[in-house]
Amino acid sequence: MKIKKTISTALILVGVLLTTGCEDFLTTNPSSTLSENQIVNDMTGIKMLLQGTYRQIRDGAGSPNFYSPEGINAISTTTGGDIMINDEQVGDFWYFSVFSSQRYDPTATIPTGMWASMYKIISNANNIIVNIDNIPGDASERNEVKGQALIIRARCYFNLIRFYQHTYIIAKNKPGVPILLEPVLKSKARNTVEEVYSQIVNDLMNAETLLVDYQRPDKQYYNKDVAQFILANVYLTMNNWSEAQSYANKIRTKYPLMSMDEYKAGFSTTNNEWVLGYIQTSQDYWWYDSPACWYDFGQNHSPWQAELFIPTKHFAEDIMKGDPRNLTIPNPIYEGKYAATKFLELKAEGPFGDLYDLRGAEMYLVEAEAAARQGDVETAKMVLNLLQTQRGASITIATGKEELTDAILLERRKEMWGEGLDYFDIMRLQKPIVKTISDGHYQEVNIPANSNILIMMIPEKEMINNKEMVQNPNPSVTPVYIP
């Protein structure tokens, strides 16, 4: 009897276990990450994705030293002749150097990382742009989110197209970069440079419209002004002078120039001239990846002296002679060299102040250049002189178009040194790179205009996994691009 009872109990037990709801039992979800459904179909979720995408572009998808706006500035700055890599500290063949294989080897860090980071940010932005219109709710809220995502995407494409192909004017019909507008895993062939620019302009103009009523909480967010700022630069690169002038003017008239005291304070506190900047918090500061550390030789009291970049003798002694913006000192460590004091850390303890990204002065220079190139020397001179007066620098009196244009380009160097215009200007203006020992460089460098060394190779991983991709010319085979 007892046995029989046991049998039936056991069989019931087995039966119950066999029929318990398996699918519920077998569905598990993570607690520390969120599922797709929670993000792309929901306004709160998609706003979180926008925040994350902001963080990605601000931090260069995790490598602020290379792919953040500041990192890109550093790559650009060191390509030019005014700021050089401290050979004695890191060697002249280091990452940032134009002739480092890190710049043109398709397997090296920078070409692979730049590509992957920009597309990673684009993919997140695409996720927002594609899904936002299907989310029910307030249309103005949707517009705000979409507009911001469009600027982020456009900015990434603008970086890509300038690093992976020669400038618009000479390479319009050349392969640019693939335009991906949806978060799908299908890769594409390279679109032409012209198509990429047209996508950038579209996205930015679209954003400008969508964000017309958007009041950003602070200068960390992309608004209409940021779209217009970038548009001015895009048009400048396209030699579309009238649009460049008109967009630059919108910003120039809206963001007053900082005082010289603010200028000398080291670009680590938000001020009125800033169009875009970031407040570091104890959770997300850049440690030694901030520009102040790269330039620091102990004079800034910053916690890390990276001692990477120094101004050349020629720049400190000749170009900037007598200019109030000549924030250089004799190098306290390397005899006969200079050190820059332009960028300063705020405090001796993290998070070390704000990081600036875009500021108004650049738009003065864009507006002036665009006006001058159209022959409107009066406007050009007026805008240029406004900047010079505010800085207490010598006032340009030239009136000839060419002369004035040169003066404006010189002013760009003086006002914006160390701020990442060099490479993009060299490409845009198709200038050679000449560095001489007599100017204070470590060695003689001659890179002809439109050298293929200056554009990055498409990463090998992309070449292998994307059958439609075509590679840029190998600079050791074809040194110079002939349009």
């Binding site: 077998l26 797709e36 925040q51 895993l185």
Partner: protein, 1086 residues
Amino acid sequence: MNVNQKTNCFFRRGLFKLAACTFLTTGISIGHVTAAPGSMGSKNSEITQQEAVTTKGKVIDERGEALIGVSIIEKGTTNGTVTNSNGNFTLRVIGEKPILVFSYIGYSSQEIVTENNKTLQVILKESSKMVDEVIITAYGTSKKSSFTGSVSVVNAEKLTKISSTNISQGLQGLSAGVQVINNSGRPGEDAQIIIRGLGSMTAATNPLYVIDGVPSDAPLNSYSTSDIESISVMKDAASTSLYGSRAGNGVILITTKKGKEGKTKVNLRASWGTSEFAVKFPTKVSAAKQYELAFEGLYNDATDFLGKSDADARQYAYDKVSSVYWNKTPITLSDGTTRNYRSGWNTDNPVGLDGKIKTDAERLWNFNAFDEAFSHRLKQDYGADISGAMGEKNNYFISFSMLDDKGVHISDHFKRFTSRTVLNTKVTKWFEMSNTLMYSNSTNNNGGFATRVFRVLPSEYSAYLWDYKKNQYATSPYTGQKQLDEGRNNGRAWWPGWSTFGTLTENTDNKKDNLQTISAFNFNILKGLTLRTTYSYQLTNAFDYLWRSPEREDEIIASEGRVDRSSYRNTSSTLNNVLTYDKTFGDNHLNILLGQEAYVYKTVGFGISRAGLDLPYFTEISTASKDPTGWSGTDKYTLASYFSKIDYDLKNKYYISGSYRKDGSSRFHPDNRWGDFWSFGTSWRISQENFLRPTSKWLNNLKLKFSYGEVGNDNVGYYAYQGLYSPENSSYAGNIGVTQIQISNKDVKWETNIQMNGGIEFTMFDKLSGTVELFSRKSKDLLLNTPLPSSVGMESILKNIGDIQNTGWEVELNYQLIHSKNFEWDINLNATGYKNEITSLPSEEEQFTSGVAMFKWKKGGSRYDIYAPSWAGVNPDNGRNQWWKYSFDENGNVSDKIKTENYSEVNTDEQRINQGSMLPDVYGSISNNFKYKNLDLSFMLYYSIGGKVYDYNYGESSVLRENFAAYDVLDGRWQKPGDVTDVAKIYTYQCFNANSYARYSDKFLFDNSYARLKNVTIGYSLPKPVLSKVNIEIVRLYFKADNLLTFGNQAKHGSDPENGALSGVIDGSSPIPTLRSFNLGINLSF
């Protein structure tokens, strides 16, 4: 033959009658089963009772101890009995000159012709271990002779020969087809175990560990080897398919020791040992030599790249030599002079213009990182176990062991204690229960020391801060000892934070508590029908602690320092219900198993980290000053399964078995969640056939077997199919944000492993036994994190990309060469070889990298083939490296090649050609065991022949690079035109540009054949007569040495051959090399 068959049937029935016990006690020994005597053939004996004559006797073993339960059958009849608990038997025999057959598991059977009324004394000899062992199988047991699958059994005796205190490491060389890679010389680390080749790329490749019938989630290092009774390595589908989705990489069944009937038995053991690296590290050049090399490199930079004249180049090198290792950090000395570099020399320019160290240049310090950090440290291992019975119905086993292993590095320390309690109770005739409780606690101190520190730090650097004003090592204001320094602010040009000492200023302390309970209930419902319910709860609590002294940061940020605390709690529950039905009818025997299992694994964790310890004795979160950061998370994995198995045998000669399991896993999308796994196996004991009767004198056993089946692998992370967004590093402007980390991918499904096995088992002359098996293991729907073009915004996606197949062979041979009274000599040999082929790949090619090494997958190719550019020697004219640049014809075959010095020309996908396989051709071991009177000696030689490895470390040591250590390999460098050498001309700052750098090519791809004297054991057991006076059974003293000698290419390079054995690459991320250890121990039993 009939008799033998009946004998086996008897055992079979006996076994299954006690199926409960089988499962509950797992390590069943038939010797202790008390079966009812005379239960067989009673009908027969009744008929012939009148003529019957009684025969009596006693059966003992070679040691004179009584054997219980020995089966005695009168030959040619079904008449038989078994011995009682004293080894005695009484049998009424029928025949006139009856022949009695004595058989007993693990012993050679014996035939004896009896005479009337004579009392027999029968001594049974132990037979070869490989025959008729009872082996533990999935959810049950089987006799080795009838098992259709492929299994290697490692018993406790073999395990004790190895001084390893870790099960996984101990398995090396003990069974064919099993690759055990001891890839870390740190104490407490588990070895990697690969059965019959890697069957997966992305999913885990480790086998499923099943302890006493339930999958184990406790780390292997929490078990004490002395608690292990046996380990069965299940290699083919027939033996593993009942574990379905988790059996793809094979299954290792661990059986722990149990209580036995009889008197209480006590074992005590203790051992002491010490270790060093099994392979000597390569030799660094002296600090002086290093400076001279830097000078030469700078000189070469200047002449070859900067166009300087000889004199200018010398001056250039003279000025710059200190900058190769130091940044300019000027310091004014007490005598008022200024130094630019805080180097280890008394001058900024220690090398003269002639390139030699100046006569007046003096070293400030001499620091040997290796000598300071490594020493012979103590390893202690103690244990005790007691087993016995309480009455007839209960038995117990209790054990305690303790391990204290200080490894080799100054900061290492692993401590563990394990206790285990096993109780079995037979409550009623139909109900039994057993409970196993294991608790282990371990503490692992690890300074995060990596061998790369010792590889790359130049001889120039010290780990202590130098006080240039006092001209001595600086004293720490905190400790009063020499001030530790990790190169953050002392002017050292590179490797900030890299320390020889690791934990002296950074304490990493991982504590683990493992609790494991296994409760088994056994119901004998009807004759032959058994229900077994097993529940197991396993808990691992981990507490990780990291403390970094503010002192460590050395002035960079005043009072930084950090404390991290994190904790995990991993729990798993397994519940299974298994019904078995066992029936013999006539010549047929049937065994059916039906079961169900549910498994839940859950991990929860949290951590908090806070910087800003103002004083070095501030060690808690609450004493830190910066904002804390924290995290927490929960993950869960569930598995639901149903399974069944049928075994059938006819006349104990022909066996077939089939099994089926259905698994549902939470890791896959509902559409792909359920998987079906099955197997079929058959075997034929030819030696039981009449036509082999003439050979039965010498051919004791011959069996053919074959199996085929499918098992799976789902071990690919918890949420493989879901689109995931992570908040990590995604907050912005103080608001929470997320970014995409995984794209949803509902198509991803199981990897299926299709396994085929065929083999022969044999025993000859009662001396030689062995197994030869051929296998094929095909991984279908292999999961690979397939690289994506970066332009889609994701680096890779998990895809079931194709099929690969491992086909190979295994041989295991045991030879009892001499077994005389005083001298015994056994030889064990095993060997395995297999090849790998990619049998299907939808895409044209897939690539993946392991470190720098590149692998390309193509249909018909091997997953193990390394692709690299080809090195073409050093150009004797200019000392530069050269590579072959290939031209290819339209079929992709090499049509031409030219030499180039420009690496970028060969650094392309097409120039990376197949340079051979990293897979060894054959690997295995040879063991010898000797016993002379009370002395025993054994040794095992492990070997691996063929297979390549990319030695990045050696590559790195054959170039000069600023801030890196230089090695004596550079003595052979190119120095003048005409020099024919493998070591290129050295450069310093221009080394990358000059292509003298160790670029990835087949130059550093070496044959990784090696042999290793895995262990040597010498033991002495005190004579029994002496011991019996003090009531002690065994006292054995022994000395063991592990990894005593290593032969092969890689050992000559200073690289451990086991380091790259699975990844194909030895590089900076390779683990700590294997250790050579020496141990003294004592075992005592009473």
